[in-house]
């Protein structure tokens, strides 16, 4: 039953990805000033939405780990697995966004990269979470979970400061498409549909990968615990 549900979810996700691709490439109309290259928007923005969501999952799980690490060890272990999975999948989506951004910027602005508020913030966010993954790789032993949770919290604290500092510095990225004032928002319904389908499809895909990564990490934790128990039994 569980396997069937997972299979169904995978099938729906793949179908959604196909449908979203069709919407973005064939159904959505061509944009007036940027023409075909604007279609990268349907991949660029959903990637970042997914990345920010998964980083938020990682941050919330880090806080939960620290809160539960003495009182409820099992919850803490699960939180740690979510924190790791969120950071890893978030870094992948963030990388996709950081690669599609310059490809688009080269055609739309004429430059690959600019040190504006949102680009710099995202790059720093990416650097912070890569350093989080490096810490998890280099630090060994049981304390790595606590250390990683603390770094996750520090990283999340840094993001609003990075954003504000770069906003004061310079800004070139277009104003927010949504919530940026009375003129903001996508006017063409076909474009909006393509955009929303892509968000849904990529989030479904991201959640699938997140859940798989979580499962693998939980298995890993179980084996580690069993090995530790076996070693204890041997010495007795």
């Amino acid at each position: 039953m569980k396997k069937a549900a997972i299979g169904l979810y995978v099938a729906i996700t793949v179908a959604l990805l196909g449908w979203a691709f069709y919407q973005a490439i064939y159904v959505a109309p061509e944009e007036q000033t940027m023409h075909e290259v604007q279609r990268i928007f349907y991949y660029h923005v959903p990637s970042f939405i997914a990345a920010f969501l998964f980083f938020a999952v990682s941050f919330a799980s880090s806080v939960c780990f620290l809160a539960f690490r003495h009182s409820r060890p099992n919850w803490a272990q699960a939180s740690d697995a979510w924190a790791l999975a969120g950071a890893e999948v978030g870094v992948v989506f963030c990388t996709v966004g950081l690669i599609t951004g310059p490809l688009w910027g080269r055609r739309a602005w004429g430059i690959w990269w600019t040190w504006d508020a949102r680009l710099t913030t995202t790059l720093v966010l990416w650097l912070i979470y890569v350093s989080y993954l490096l810490l998890r790789r280099f630090a060994a032993g049981p304390q790595v979970q606590t250390l990683a949770a603390v770094l996750g919290i520090f990283g999340a604290l840094d993001v609003p400061i990075v954003y504000m500092s770069n906003r004061w510095w310079r800004t070139q990225h277009p104003a927010p498409v949504f919530g940026g004032g009375p003129d903001s928002g996508i006017k063409d319904p076909a474009m909006l549909h393509a955009f929303l389908w892509n968000i849904l499809a990529w989030l479904a895909w991201g959640v699938l990968i997140l859940a798989l990564r979580y499962h693998v990490e939980r298995q890993h934790q179980k084996f580690a615990a069993q090995e530790a128990q076996a070693a204890l039994d041997d010495t007795n």
Binding site: L66, V124, L127, I128, V130, S131, Y132, L134, L135, F138, A139, A140, G141, P142, Q143, V144, T146, L147, V150, L151, I153, F154, G155, L157, D158, I161, V162, M164, S165, N166, W168, W169
Partner: protein
């Protein structure tokens, strides 16, 4: 002043005074960075004023990493760190003592470095020079506070000296930006550094508070 903080601070200052390890290595390293940058960029006139703030901040950043690594690594010998863990005093006091001690070392290095810096870059300060006395300590505090915290975090890992730089630098980026912008606007006289000083102050308050709250978690992580 709490007694534990005072004891740790005096101990660290005394060790440094007798050995001068951190001080000499930091001073020579930052001098090297200043010389290397001036060879690489050939600074003169307005250009040297524009890059001087960045060079000074980056030189301080690289140089202080050597002292920050030593700050806890020194305690591993003779299991001092285990004794500190078992001591019935708040870890926050130990943390604060280390930060104050290293803040003093880095500040002394900056004061000694400043004349060389003015000579090598032919600097003539256009803005309000006294503001530097606010910007540099605030920036140094941001660097040393986070640095001591992350050094304690990476002390029990493989490659701990490399790991410290890898996790400290990304988190330090906004403070570095504010420090560089403020110093540059003071040196060139263009723009108002107040906003950047406020940002540095906010950064210091947020991260020092977070470090004080979370230091025990990191120090006693098992």
């Amino acid at each position: 002043m709490p007694r534990a903080l005072w004891t740790h601070l005096v101990k660290d200052l005394r060790i440094e005074l007798r050995s001068l390890d951190a001080f000499v290595s930091m001073l020579f390293f930052s001098l090297l960075v200043v010389v290397l940058f001036s060879i690489a960029f050939d600074p003169h006139g307005d250009f040297s004023r524009e890059i001087a703030g960045g060079v000074l901040s980056v030189a301080t950043m690289f140089a202080s990493v050597s002292a920050l690594n030593q700050a806890w690594a020194r305690e591993i010998r003779h299991q001092v760190i285990d004794a500190q863990r078992m001591a019935p005093t708040p870890g926050a006091e130990l943390f604060l003592a280390k930060v104050i001690a290293n803040f003093l070392f880095v500040s002394v290095v900056q004061v000694i470095l400043a004349p060389f810096f003015l000579i090598f870059y032919n600097l003539h300060i256009e803005g309000q020079a006294w503001l530097l006395a606010l910007v540099l300590p605030l920036g140094t505090w941001a660097l040393v506070g986070n640095g001591i915290f992350f050094a304690a975090l990476s002390i029990r890992s493989r490659n701990r000296e490399l790991l410290l730089s890898l996790i400290l630098f990304p988190i330090f980026i906004p403070a570095l930006l504010a420090m560089v912008r403020a110093t540059t606007s003071i040196l060139t006289g263009d723009g108002d550094p107040t906003l950047w000083i406020k940002l540095l102050l906010g950064y210091d308050i947020i991260f020092t508070t977070a470090s004080l709250l979370l230091f025990d978690v990191v120090f006693h992580a098992e």
